[in-house]
Subunit: 230 residues, 2 copies
């Protein structure tokens, strides 16, 4: 947890808040970023595009997410960022970030935690893409988004959440085509596992959903907003 002292320092160093409407580019792949972003409100996603136009969604961003950093020595981000809903961003220059890290070790530690967590999320997605069938992958993704959006785990039977997603975005995340995502969602609904209509997810059979998605307790903890106490 951050100290008030630390929060004050952050408040002094941050740049003005930025508003971005739904469905806009926050930054392009290849941009040279001078700011680190902190998502205050709304949803966004990171994606990567191949020269021929194929696009992959890399990570969904929810309030609290920090993004837009690149490792030293690279010149240009390997990914772009896009808003899903209307979005409120807090910006921090890289030099301000460095100063905060120097002055406040707990800030630095928290930042390290977030980067490590991002890596774990990425490894989870690698596993899903490499190993899972379309049913499993979609179950996996929707469970992840459910838990990250609500902070609840496991889901109570029949619970509903609004997830501002299109089937096309599910396709770009799972590496499937929109058509096949549609058919797979249909099958999941017929089997009574989940229903997803008008961007609302209804969990019909939580146990089956967890089983299909193949996620561990450990992983699910990473989806909750804060690190659990040690």
């Amino acid at each position: 947890m951050r100290s008030t002292d630390e929060l004050g320092a952050l408040e002094r160093l941050r740049s003005p808040t930025l508003f971005v409407p739904a469905d806009r580019t926050i930054y392009h792949q290849g941009d040279r970023p001078s700011r680190i972003y902190n998502l205050v409100r709304g949803w966004a996603y990171l994606h990567r595009t191949l020269p021929d136009g194929r696009r992959q969604i890399l990570r969904f961003l929810m309030p609290g997410a920090v993004f837009g950093a690149e490792p030293d020595g690279t010149s240009g981000l390997s990914h772009g960022a896009q808003s899903i809903s209307d979005v409120l961003l807090c910006q921090l220059t890289t030099s301000a970030l460095e100063e905060l890290s120097r002055r406040h070790p707990s800030f630095q530690a928290r930042r390290m935690w977030m980067v490590q967590r991002d890596t774990e999320l990425a490894l989870e997605q690698i596993t899903s893409l490499g190993l899972q069938s379309s049913i499993e992958a979609i179950a996996h993704l929707l469970l992840e988004l459910y838990v990250r959006a609500t902070g609840r785990y496991p889901p109570p039977t029949g619970d509903a959440v609004y997830l501002p997603l299109t089937q096309a975005m599910i396709a770009e995340t799972t590496g499937l085509t929109p058509v096949h995502v549609n058919r797979t969602l249909k099958r999941l609904e017929q089997d009574g596992v989940i229903a997803f209509h008008r961007r609302t997810l209804i969990v019909g059979d939580p146990a089956r959903l967890v089983q299909l998605s193949g996620v561990s307790e450990e992983t699910m903890r990473l989806w909750l907003p804060e690190p659990a106490a040690p």
Copy 2:
């Protein structure tokens, strides 16, 4: 670059060096690690296994790699580590790591760089798994391993490298079956792009290889051992 001062501090704090023969478990998925590992010599890989036994290789480790850390708040690693060749490991307790970070800001910065770089490598693999065909994915993987192993980019025509891999490992990385990996390698050889026999990779057509793999200059820089000067 590390100062000699810093290297001295690291030398005092590290635990004894550990030798692991080829093809052994370094740690299991789910282990609670008390050490961070630094790979001094040899090759290894990180993998994740699903409850039903399906296995995904997450990252290949080469000398210089740091691994075995987990984000605070988790209890048990989400992945396992396995040696490929005979391997020499340098160990550091987590408390020693924290002390080094506190005392030597440049050490801390370097560690952040490595974690961010690991994330970028993971994002690259997500793109490959989600978007690329079997030919592209295998071209991608072998180019990555070539560049990381030799530090050379782009490869000179006809250059050969020993990569201690089996086709089964390529399969576990790309999400394909060993049989299909074999057929795809055959096609790549017929097309004169690359040949891979007896764990030796020969680059026949570097330009085509780079094009097929779809990697950017930026990404390739991440495969080189050190961050380029800013």
